[in-house]
């Protein structure tokens, strides 16, 4: 009998979704789902922050070196694939990988800075890609709950899709992978306009006014399209739409009260993993209506 080798994937959580951080429920639910339906995730030893916007906006070499250190650590542990559920991380890792592949001099500088070689043959996956590549059959097989008439607006934001030439994931203007996953959980996808618009991302502290305007447009569009909840796969989108929602409502004088759920939480609910263990109690906007739809 041949024993099928288990797929072992390097797990790069990034800062925002680890325990005790602003979006820990994303990390929690990603891990709970992986425990239930695979693939096996193994944290990259001693990973560091990718530097996010602040590094690439101010120092290209630093940004590249910070990202590549993680890829090199993964290579040393023998991983062929890395999951980075935070799209800021996955985007930075993929762009940095391409930048060193295209620029011999940059590669030398980066290897000198991180004091490690980097070969660059590790594939970086975002969370939607991981689910599409490894979990669609498992979700269909192991789904225990079907939500009753739950309409979801899939919100991609920027970093999963752009720059499309480098990331090569889905259609940058009209992506559909999240909708496919939403429908696999038994929920209904709504068609809406702003699924790839920007939420203002990292300006949440420095230019809150911009974030409030952009997120107001997004919430308004989703609610007007008839969505009961918005699904996301990005901690920054989540923070801006969930934690800032009360402030948006006050600023723009409209009541939304729409739950913002991670796609991993939706999958978890369909698998009946229990709302608390998925971190659905950690949201600022109550998620009870979504949890109840799966009852």
């Amino acid at each position: 009998m041949q024993i099928k080798e288990k797929t072992r994937i390097g797990y790069y959580p990034g800062c925002a979704i680890t325990m005790g951080s602003s979006s820990e429920e994303y990390g929690t639910s990603v891990l709970r789902v992986a425990e239930a339906i695979g693939p096996e995730l193994e944290e990259i030893h001693d990973w560091n922050c990718c530097g996010a916007s602040s590094a690439h906006a101010t120092n290209h070499k630093l940004s590249t070196a910070l990202s590549i250190r993680n890829i090199s650590l993964a290579e040393q542990s023998g991983f062929k694939e890395i999951l980075a559920p935070c799209p800021m991380c996955s985007q930075r890792l993929i762009i940095s990988q391409k930048d060193v592949a295209d620029d011999e001099e940059l590669k030398k500088d980066v290897e000198d800075a991180i004091e490690m070689p980097c070969n660059g043959d590790v594939k970086i996956l975002n969370y939607l890609e991981l689910i599409k590549n490894y979990c669609m059959d498992e979700i269909a097989e192991k789904r225990k709950k079907t939500p009753k008439d739950l309409k979801i607006a899939s919100y991609y934001g920027c970093l999963l899709l752009r720059p499309p030439k480098v990331l090569q994931f889905d259609d940058p203007e009209n992506p559909t992978s999240m909708e496919e996953i939403v429908e696999a959980t038994g929920a209904i996808s709504v068609d809406w306009e702003l699924k790839t618009n920007c939420c203002g991302g990292g300006f949440t502290l420095s230019r809150t006014d911009i974030v409030l305007k952009l997120t107001n447009d997004i919430l308004e569009c989703a609610v007007d399209a008839g969505a009961d909840a918005i699904a996301v796969a990005c901690p920054m989108c989540h923070a801006n739409l969930d934690m800032r929602q009360k402030k948006i409502e006050k600023e723009y004088n409209r009541k939304f009260n729409i739950p913002i759920v991670y796609i991993s939480e939706l999958i978890g609910l369909a698998l009946d993993l229990g709302p608390i263990s998925l971190g659905l109690n950690k949201h600022f906007i109550d998620t009870e209506s979504v949890v109840n739809a799966f009852a």
């Binding site: 800062c15 925002a16 680890t18 325990m19 005790g20 951080s21 602003s22 979006s23 820990e24 001693d46 990973w47 560091n48 922050c49 530097g51 996010a52 916007s53 602040s54 590094a55 690439h56 906006a57 101010t58 120092n59 290209h60 070499k61 630093l62 070196a65 910070l66 250190r69 500088d109 000198d112 800075a113 991180i114 004091e115 920027c158 899709l161 752009r162 720059p163 499309p164 940058p172 203007e173 618009n197 920007c198 203002g200 991302g201 990292g202 300006f203 502290l205 420095s206 230019r207 809150t208 911009i210 952009l214 934690m243 800032r244 009360k246 950690k282 600022f284």
Partner: protein, 184 residues
């Protein structure tokens, strides 16, 4: 908009400098304005994204590097995605920001943004990862006018366990410090 251009500027090699550093060739841009049309933050900018490209084309270094626009770009990359001439506009903003900091020309009106980047990177340099609470603390100390802004959210995050007092120090934090030293 009226801007005086000198022959010296027209003859300057600003566009070449940008190309050498980033590989981005602004000469390809024929000013169609598609980048500006799709920019979600254009309404707050002092110059439109296509005007910034024009500055680089014409050698107007000071105008480009002192603009608020380069800091207000949210790096959503919609412009690069849609550009018919494949000019990497969002990536151009990155290199202009870098040059603006190097030359001490960053617009003081967007000090909140530059201070945030600094506080963020200081946390990575110190711990190897972000310690959100301490990064927030540094930012608020340096920008006291923003201190009252998140009085409700902060405690709520703490009560939900979404902020931690303990910084996440990695074992390789000295290696990360050396990355910062070598990438100055």
């Amino acid at each position: 908009m009226k801007i005086k251009i000198t022959t010296k500027e027209l003859k300057s090699d600003f566009a070449k400098e940008v190309k050498d550093r980033s590989g981005i060739d602004v000469k390809k841009c024929y000013q169609c304005g598609k980048c500006t049309a799709g920019c979600p933050v254009a309404y707050e900018m002092d110059y439109m994204p296509n005007q910034i490209i024009r500055f680089v084309q014409l050698g107007l270094k000071r105008e480009a590097l002192t603009s608020r626009t380069i800091w207000l770009c949210a790096s959503c990359i919609t412009c690069t995605t849609r550009c018919p001439k494949e000019v990497k506009i969002a990536e151009l903003m990155d290199v202009l920001r870098e040059m603006s900091l190097e030359e001490g020309l960053a617009n003081p009106l967007e000090k909140n943004i530059t201070t945030f980047h600094q506080a963020f990177l200081n946390s990575v340099k110190k711990h190897g990862r972000i310690s959100e609470l301490w990064m927030l603390n540094e930012y608020k100390m340096k920008r006291p006018k923003t201190a009252l802004q998140d009085l409700i959210i902060g405690p709520q995050m703490l009560s939900k366990g979404k902020l931690s007092f303990l910084p996440h120090d990695i074992k390789g934090k000295d290696a990360v410090k050396r990355i910062f030293e070598k990438c100055k």
